[in-house]
């Protein structure tokens, strides 16, 4: 005979199934497992190694510190000298709109429309070089002791770089070296927030407000206290990320979708539909330069005027006239990840605006999305006869900032850049595009329909290639 207990348990089971199954079928909505964006964020709950006891000193020079670092971190030097942070050059890359071999481009050999060019101005520009002693074209990029470990790893806040990237007078190298750790926002910000010669000058979406940003300035750093390197993740000192200011191809980029699953993120299917044409940044970065203004125009042709009232945000005798903007509403254009690039010696047409870099892609390019950009306009000096832009020699006792002599500055700059100078200079209009990708807002501050669509929208649909507002005229077909 079967055990009565067994029957009882079986009965109980049957009863529970009879109740549970209909309940499950008719009342439960199975929860949808959402992708966890945190899964891609490094865990920094464990502190790094305290180097206080490990580093003794004394150190005479920055390179002495580097040697001490390399005595334990044996591969770090070799890793570093291959990075763009040290070479200021990319890996060879094809440049849209140009034939020929892929070439290495970067800060070292390019022009911009801010302070224009590094060549002939090395000593001053290389304050932001992750190395020591770059003062000329002859700099030795193979010596690992030339690497500056402290620029990125100092956590004391007491490390300052001076001319040619050397530690500034009075820096306590032992104290600084003992503090090393994971790069903080301060390490990256010291150069990247102040790019172009001051706070917020270049990027628009990167400025000193990001050292301690509130949530309303940047949701990642403000609400969640992200470090730069939480997104710009680093392997063997190769830091992920790229800027359209110095690279042409979309390699090594950081994307929102590295962590966020945009396709499932939006409840409204109409928003999801936008992902085919609109970058995340377009809606989620409604404006940049939220706290500190960014430079949108720079007129070098007005430089050198004596007696004109000077202010960092309007006019400086050494640099010319500026326009800054706060709460910068980006410009929107198609962008497929690549930009064109003005290279040293390219001929310019003084009657049109020369693009230093220009986002590639059109409405017909299926890989292109509408992205937000900060556009920086400039009037910058060029060779009026040879019709190319020359990076003037501005710094140092013999530079324009001291002598206010354009001919001298152009001649010295041209020589350093390997160009010849005709002796006649003029000013040519240029623009530069800076992708706006930081200062991401909390979702509830993203753009809404009317920000782009309807009578008050911010997009110029016809300039983008549409017949009219796609809400009423239809979108692009792929």
């Amino acid at each position: 005979m079967r055990s009565p207990n067994y029957v009882w348990l079986a009965g109980l089971g049957v009863t529970l199934i009879l109740i549970g199954l209909p309940l499950y079928l008719f009342t439960f909505d199975p929860p949808v497992a959402a992708a966890d964006p945190w899964s891609n964020v490094p865990d920094r709950s464990t502190a790094g190694t305290d180097h206080t006891a490990l580093i003794k000193g004394p150190f005479e020079t920055g390179s002495d510190v580097t040697k001490a670092c390399l005595s334990c971190h044996e591969d770090a030097g070799e890793q570093m000298i291959g990075t763009a942070h040290f070479t200021w050059l990319s890996e060879p890359e094809a440049i849209p709109g140009r034939d020929g071999e892929p070439q290495r481009i970067g800060k070292a050999n390019l022009l911009n429309n801010f302070c224009i060019g590094v060549q002939s101005n090395w000593t001053s520009c290389t304050r932001c070089h992750t190395g020591y002693g770059w003062t000329s074209a002859d700099y030795d990029f193979t010596k690992t002791e030339n690497v500056d470990c402290l620029a990125c790893h100092d956590q004391s806040g007491m490390y300052v770089k001076a001319a040619a990237g050397q530690p500034a007078e009075g820096v306590d190298l032992v104290y600084v070296a003992q503090s090393v750790g994971t790069p903080s926002r301060q390490n990256c910000g010291a150069c990247h927030f102040d790019g172009g010669g001051g706070n917020g000058v270049k990027h628009g979406d990167l400025d000193e407000s990001l050292y301690f940003p509130p949530e309303s300035v940047d949701v990642h750093m403000g609400e969640f206290d992200f470090l730069c390197v939480d997104c710009h993740q680093t392997t063997d000192h190769q830091i992920k990320g790229r800027s359209v200011g110095v690279s042409a191809q979309n390699t090594n980029g950081v994307a929102c979708t590295d962590c966020h699953d945009a396709a499932t993120q939006h409840e409204d299917s109409r928003i999801t539909e936008h992902l085919d044409t609109v970058a995340c940044q377009t809606c989620h970065i409604p404006a940049t330069a939220l706290r500190d203004p960014t430079k949108v125009e720079w007129d070098w042709s007005q430089a050198g005027q004596s007696g004109r009232a000077e202010s960092q945000h309007t006019y400086l005798k050494i640099k010319g006239a500026f326009i800054y903007e706060n709460d910068y509403i980006p410009q929107y254009t198609w962008y497929n990840g690549t930009v064109s690039r003005y290279l040293m010696g390219d001929v310019v047409d003084p009657n049109v605006v020369t693009h230093i870099n220009y986002p590639q892609g059109t409405i017909d390019d299926a890989t292109a999305l509408i992205y937000p950009f900060k556009v920086h306009l400039a009037k910058q000096p060029y060779d009026a006869i040879n019709h190319y832009i020359i990076p003037p020699h501005t710094t140092g006792t013999d530079g324009y900032w001291t002598l206010f002599d354009w001919n001298s500055a152009m001649e010295k700059g041209a020589a350093a850049a390997g160009l010849s100078y005709s002796g006649a200079y003029g000013f040519v209009s240029t623009d530069m595009y800076w992708k706006q990708t930081h200062m991401v807002q909390p979702a509830e501050n993203a753009l809404t329909c009317t920000d782009c669509h309807g009578e008050t929208g911010r997009l110029d649909w016809q300039a983008l290639g549409y017949a009219g507002d796609p809400m009423t005229w239809g979108g692009r077909t792929k």
């Binding site: 209909p22 049109v352 605006v353 556009v375 509830e444 809404t448 009317t450």
Partner: protein
């Protein structure tokens, strides 16, 4: 070249910065035209006022337009001034420019009207447009705006379709620019809809607005989801012959015709556009014209029930974040001739900075839900603001006392009449504050009455009315709508949330609820705990027949139920105690002869225990639905659906069991034998009252084929034939309020069914208590329970000889 122009455009965009986003003003298609005066002469040469009928009438059929419009008075004054005042009756042209240019000068228009220059009103609307300049003596036309032939130059032709801000100029606050923070001018009567209800039309997020709203930073919703989604006023309030929106004779179309392409073409429409705009749900697009709401409300149980009783706005306009008029006291008068207004949705009174109430803390308010009569004759709850208005009437029949007559009573010269100051200035500062301006004493009322009579007003008296203002805008999407069941299904239900009215009682009067044909007053005036006058909606009124689960209950039933359960519990406890005591006193006497019998088949046990679980589940979930506050841990909607699933299980299980009992013949056990039944019942009852304490054996043997004693048979007869069926039927009908509302309604609807269901639930709970206790009366306390679990029970083998009835 194309590329070059693109570049130049981009450069232009950058150079002009934000200004580049303001699109070109010039009309893309409207041809140039001369501005004509009433004689058809160009005003550029005649200098006369513009006649819109002549100007626009050269192409458009202005006669047709003026005959087909509600805006034909030229938008003379903001509508609906309270109390009804006599308005200057100026014959003015319909003002085309007010709605069809981008930046009409409404202030100049109003100034022209109020200064008696009504014929210049259309001209004044163009002041600052570059066409017209206001001068000391009137208006002049700027010669450079006209070409040699007297036609407007193309750049000045800014004719456009009406935008929402055109409508907003008179109807309420409309703010279309997301970049400029929105501010609210509290008490701005020209923004009538905002003034009376707090409705604001804007695509801006409230958190980005410049209004001083309590908790603003967290209110990241936009003011109005339709504005956010790029809809204009005229998308719903379209011209009734606009061929894009309108299908003529739609109701006459045969059923098989989905779309009738025969309609006015655009030329015909442009020639004779009707300026009657769709209003009211019969003509206008209602929510359902665009939304198949059921598809987005899959989460909402009882969809039909909810949507038949609630308008969409009830949940989708849950709160207004702008102040609204609460009370207008026109029995008194401020020095500027205006009445004393008080607002709801502000805290700490009105703070003004240089006359602008920007720093007033705005808390917003929750609208009251009234029964709104819909165009199709149905009714549903919809949000309203209630404004209490006080004003003087005189004569027979009563006519409102005019503003001028009241001015003569209160004012004299540049200020108040001395008698008025003497009577009202209680703090003696020579000024009359809003608080002082109130007819709160008989002396003051008598003074004003007397002065009105001196004006020749016969029998002046005060009227107080509570006027409902419907709220259909400021709609928000699902994320911010009322979704939590307990916002309505609880003691503090939104559905019956009271709305405080004013604090004034001029002349000692109480206001009355104004009769309004679009509203059924589903409630009454009341005083709250603080003594303030409130309107208190109720669920069960002649106009509304609602039973709100979780909120409504019949108190008597619950009290009776609790008493019944308590008394029963007490009874069985005493009975049990007596049994224990008597068993202790009694010497253990010999166990009667026992025999192990297979009492309950597997199926019998299975259905019994399933029913046990289900009944406990039903009881518990039913309690949660009945009083959600007591079980706030549990999700209301989920409990409702669990209750329904359990109910279905109960019915199925009961049906299967009935089938089993019928087929197996076991049913006989439940049917009492008529012969001697009452004797047997009494015998069994006496056993429970007496024998059980003496350790007597049971009067009736329990056997496999006769498990029930007579009392059990009687109880089950009632349970299975009366209580359970009634509970199932009432429950099914309550569920049916969604599925087959007519039948439920026939039987009294939820207000009858639900309390009945509750009553039977109490009785069933009582039964369960007794039933469980009775299982302990076997030969050992657990014997019956064991039998129901294992199937086997030890039963006494023979009828004891000493047993006596």
């Amino acid at each position: 070249m194309k590329r070059l122009s693109f570049v130049l455009i981009l450069v232009g965009l950058v150079c002009f910065g934000g200004a580049a986003y303001v699109l070109a003003q010039e009309s893309p298609m409207h041809p140039v035209f001369p501005l004509l005066d009433v004689d058809g002469q160009p005003v550029s040469t005649s200098g006369n006022p513009i006649s819109t009928l002549a100007t626009c009438g050269s192409c458009h059929d202005t006669e047709f337009i003026t005959q087909h419009t509600l805006h034909g008075d030229g938008g003379r004054v903001a509508a609906g001034v309270l109390p009804p005042n006599s308005l200057p009756n100026t014959e003015v042209d319909m003002n085309c420019f007010l709605c069809h240019t981008e930046s009409p000068n409404n202030a100049a228009r109003v100034a022209a009207l109020s200064s008696g220059k009504g014929e210049w009103a259309s001209t004044a609307t163009l002041v600052d447009s570059g066409i017209v300049t206001a001068t000391d003596s009137g208006y002049s036309y700027n010669a450079e705006a006209f070409d040699a032939a007297g036609a407007l130059k193309a750049v000045f032709v800014t004719i456009q379709d009406p935008r929402s801000d055109n409508c907003g100029a008179c109807h309420g606050l409309v703010h279309l620019d997301n970049q400029t923070p929105l501010t609210i001018a509290i008490g701005d009567e020209s923004a009538w809809r905002t003034f009376t209800t707090g409705q604001v039309t804007s695509s801006q997020r409230i958190s980005n607005s410049g209004a001083n709203i309590s908790g603003r930073d967290d209110i990241t919703r936009t003011w109005d989801v339709h504005a956010e989604r790029v809809l204009n006023c005229v998308d719903c309030h379209f011209s009734v012959n606009n061929p894009v929106f309108t299908e003529m004779n739609a109701s006459a179309a045969p059923e098989h015709l989905v779309f009738d392409p025969r309609r006015a073409d655009f030329g015909e429409y442009l020639k004779r556009p009707s300026h009657e705009f769709a209003v009211g749900t019969d003509v206008m697009r209602s929510c359902n014209s665009c939304h198949d709401a059921q598809k987005s409300h899959e989460w909402l149980p009882y969809w039909d029930r909810h949507t038949s009783e609630l308008s969409c706005e009830s949940c989708h306009v849950p709160y207004l974040y702008a102040p609204a008029l609460a009370e207008r006291d026109s029995t008194v008068m401020k020095a500027d001739g205006s009445p004393v207004d008080t607002y709801r949705g502000i805290e700490g009174g009105m703070n003004t900075v240089s006359g602008n109430p920007v720093s007033t803390l705005i808390t917003g308010y929750q609208p009251v839900l009234l029964q709104q009569k819909d165009a199709d004759g149905s009714q549903s709850l919809a949000p309203y603001n209630l404004v209490t208005v006080w004003y003087w009437v005189a004569g027979d029949p009563a006519q409102p006392v005019s503003e001028d007559a009241l001015k003569a009573v209160y004012l004299s010269g540049d200020g108040y009449a001395p008698e008025i100051v003497a009577a009202f200035d209680s703090d003696g500062d020579g000024q009359l504050s809003d608080a002082e301006l109130t007819l709160d004493s008989e002396a003051k009322t008598a003074l004003i009455t007397e002065r009105l009579q001196a004006q020749g007003q016969a029998n002046p008296r005060i009227v107080g009315e509570v006027v409902p203002y419907a709220i259909h805008h400021d709609v928000i999407g699902g994320e911010w709508a009322v979704k939590d069941c307990q916002q309505c299904h609880s003691e503090s239900s939104r559905v019956v949330a009271t709305m405080p009215l004013g604090n004034r009682t001029p002349g000692g009067n109480e206001p009355t609820l104004v009769s309004d044909e679009s509203v059924l007053w589903n409630g009454s005036l009341n005083r709250d705990d603080a003594g303030r006058l409130v309107f208190a909606p109720e669920t069960q009124t002649p106009s509304a027949n609602l039973y709100l689960f979780g909120r409504d209950s019949v108190e008597v039933i619950d009290i009776l139920g609790v008493l019944l359960v308590l008394a029963t519990s007490l009874g069985v406890t005493i009975h049990a105690a007596l049994r224990v005591m008597s068993a202790r006193k009694r010497a253990a006497h010999g166990e009667p002869a026992m025999q192990r019998e297979y009492m309950y088949s597997v199926y019998e046990r299975q259905w019994h225990w399933l029913q046990t679980f289900v009944i406990f589940g039903l009881t518990f979930t039913g309690m949660v639905v009945h009083k959600p506050e007591l079980f706030s841990l549990f999700n209301f909607a989920w409990m409702v659906s669990v209750h329904n699933v359990f109910a279905a299980l109960l019915v199925i299980n009961a049906a299967l069991a009935l089938f089993y009992h019928l087929v197996s013949g076991e049913i006989k056990q439940f049917i009492p034998r008529p012969y001697g039944f009452f004797d047997n019942m009494i015998e069994q009852a006496l056993y429970y009252l007496r024998g059980i304490f003496r350790g007597d054996p049971h009067p009736f043997e329990k056997r496999r084929d006769s498990k029930m004693n007579p009392i059990q048979q009687m109880s089950y007869l009632i349970l299975l034939n009366v209580l359970l069926p009634l509970q199932i039927i009432t429950g099914a009908l309550m569920w049916g309020a969604q599925q087959f509302p007519q039948i439920s309604q026939m039987l009294g609807g939820l207000p009858v069914l639900a309390p009945f269901h509750t009553l039977i639930a109490w009785l069933l709970v009582t039964f369960v208590i007794v039933h469980v206790y009775m299982t302990t009366t076997g030969h050992t306390p657990l014997a019956n329970l064991q039998a129901m679990m294992m199937g086997y029970e030890d039963v006494e083998t023979e009828q004891p000889a000493e047993h006596q009835a």
